[in-house]
């Protein structure tokens, strides 16, 4: 029996298809927001002094950022912790001995970042990021909190007070691997970038040339609590994780037959993903725990670095003011929030915390004994989140 060319193409291209299409309603909302923003941009003279009359790369960058203000898709998670990854995402080899730790989390504060205005300067324009950017850290599914504790190196505590309809056991436990990301300032690169945005007068201080930074992201555990009846993918890696080899994936174990892959990838996978997303939207929540991330520097002092970064052209003035007003900035994690968010500082069992709504997501983040905890849900109230947080012991 032969298979037609059309069938082969159809099957191959169906591998590329999305598991589901985003809801057209929110997409239309976002489109309208983009149209309004685009009309505003066209109708008013650029207010910022950093924008040169002709289209600069910064202009184009600002435009591209303005499109990021999509309505929240509603999948809950602990945003703050993982957000740090978006600043650096590349693993590099450690040079830990010569570094001075300049940042470790003991407190939290919300900082409003308005992405709709100018572009935000980015480290990659001022030097070299080491390694290749990856969108997802290495992760594995584990079966129990005990296995998760072993993988992350501290005792994972599960909440006992969950909103009705959830739990008591998490539907899935995911452990991510730690990462170290590196950055080296390069005077020549910074100069070229600053000139390209019409800021030739603004220079990278000489002592920064060759100075390095390292960001350490520690292993994290994510526990997803989904409404009863949610079907999740099988948890095939649990046994590997418990045997002390948590991050060995099976994917490389020899050639994969295309038949097997088609069987694995076909509609079953698509519907599972879709179900999971639906479950997250409909009352599910996520709890994340990790040791504090930290930043090390060499060649430049922490306060020099801070002063330089805060003086960079392009940073929204209000964001700079908020960052400057942080007292113990070497131990306070700024949680970036969108304009209009309602995050406030509270305490959870005496530990510093923030709770509230950020981009349609309800979240609580707290720090206790060097561990950062977060819980978030699309439809969970602040009260529910705070009582959940208090129950994590």
């Amino acid at each position: 029996m032969t298979t037609s060319d059309t069938d082969i193409v159809r099957e191959a291209l169906s591998l590329l298809g999305p598991s589901h299409t985003p809801d057209v309603g929110p997409a239309l909302e976002r489109q309208r927001a983009m149209q309004r923003s685009s009309a505003r941009a066209a109708g008013s003279a650029p207010a910022a002094e950093f924008i040169t009359p002709r289209r600069s790369s910064m202009n184009a960058f600002a435009d591209s950022l303005s499109h990021l203000r999509r309505p929240m898709l509603g999948i809950p998670l602990a945003a703050a912790l993982v957000l740090a990854l978006s600043l650096f995402a590349s693993p590099v080899r450690g040079l830990a001995a010569q570094f001075l730790t300049i940042f470790r989390v003991q407190d939290l504060t919300p900082v409003t970042v308005d992405l709709s205005g100018q572009g935000i300067p980015n480290l990659s324009q001022l030097g070299d990021m080491t390694g290749q950017s990856t969108s997802v850290p290495a992760y594995t599914h584990v079966a129990t909190a005990a296995a998760a504790s072993q993988a992350v190196g501290f005792t994972v505590a599960a909440p006992s007070a969950l909103p009705s309809g959830l739990g008591p056991q998490p539907s899935a436990i995911v452990v991510t691997q730690g990462q170290t990301a590196g950055f080296t300032f390069r005077a020549a690169k910074a100069k070229a970038y600053l000139a390209s945005i019409g800021q030739s007068n603004f220079a990278l201080p000489g002592k920064f040339d060759g100075a390095t930074l390292q960001l350490h992201i520690e292993p994290a555990v994510l526990m997803a609590y989904l409404p009863a009846g949610t079907k999740l993918p099988a948890i095939p890696d649990a046994s590997t994780a418990q045997s002390g080899l948590p991050f060995q994936h099976r994917a490389s174990a020899g050639a994969i037959s295309s038949q097997a892959v088609r069987a694995a990838v076909a509609p079953a996978a698509a519907s599972r993903i879709s179900n999971t997303e639906q479950a997250l939207l409909n009352g599910g929540l996520a709890v994340v725990e990790t040791k504090s991330p930290s930043v090390d520097a060499s060649g430049v002092s922490a306060s020099d670095l801070r002063n330089f970064l805060l003086s960079m052209p392009g940073l929204p003035a209000s964001t700079v003011a908020q960052l400057r007003s942080i007292g113990d900035w070497q131990h306070t994690l700024p949680i970036p929030v969108a304009p209009g968010a309602s995050l406030r500082k509270v305490t959870v069992g005496g530990s510093p915390a923030i709770v509230g709504t950020n981009m349609g997501m309800h979240m609580v983040v707290w720090v206790r004994n060097g561990i950062v905890y977060a819980a978030a849900g699309a439809s969970t109230s602040d009260t529910q989140l705070l009582s959940l947080a208090a129950s994590v012991q």
């Binding site: 291209l13 298809g17 997409a27 685009s38 499109h67 990659s124 992760y139 037959s257 295309s258």
Partner: protein, 196 residues
């Protein structure tokens, strides 16, 4: 009704409003762009950009019966550019603050990692084959397999509708040839039924 010389008659009636035009086409445009980028976020960003361009047309494009042809022609171009360049990936790396990043991480992490890796590998292979074809061939395949009719494909690519079938068959045969060669090269068994 306006019919451009050399183009085909429109295949869909004009939309009543931008909203109905958006609702009518967004899902399929998104799916097309997802196929070439492999990223839900990139696909949505690009689809939104495309509709933003539609909305800027004066007089309003969606009122024209040729609007769908315009949209799919632009979508085809965009898909081809994405397929052939890594512009989008570089762009992503320049995002200073990416509010959606955590969402993406959780969504991905709730899937089985091994299965995810296998799927990515397979998908990249298919995209690789599309890259080796002639631009028009890969666009033709992508549009047709995004659910467009022959007439709509002809309109988007400014082809004679009568020749679409023949061009498509040729493109499919070339795709198969390259795909099977690629599978042999990566020592994966060619699908059953072809071995004989």
């Amino acid at each position: 009704m306006i019919v451009m010389e050399g183009a085909v008659a429109p295949t869909e009636p004009a939309a009543e409003s931008f909203e109905s035009f958006f609702r009518q086409h967004f899902g399929r445009v998104y799916a097309l762009l997802y196929r070439v980028t492999g990223s839900a976020e990139d696909a949505e960003d690009l689809a939104q950009e495309l509709f933003l361009r539609v909305s800027r047309q004066q007089p309003p494009l969606w009122e024209s019966p040729t609007a769908a042809g315009w949209l799919w022609k632009a979508a085809g171009h965009m898909a081809l550019n994405e397929l052939r360049s890594s512009r989008r990936r570089r762009y992503r790396e320049t995002r200073a603050v990416d509010h959606d990043r955590p969402l993406r991480l959780v969504r991905e992490m709730l899937q089985d990692p091994a299965e995810g890796a296998e799927r990515r590998e397979q998908r990249e292979e298919v995209r690789g084959v599309l890259r080796t074809l002639r631009p028009r061939e890969s666009t033709l395949l992508l549009l047709r397999h995004s659910g467009l009719s022959y007439a709509a494909v002809a309109q988007a690519l400014e082809l004679n509708p009568a020749s679409v079938g023949k061009l498509l068959a040729r493109a499919e045969a070339r795709f198969r040839e390259h795909y099977e060669a690629s599978q042999r090269a990566s020592s994966k068994p060619v699908r059953e039924g072809d071995a004989s």
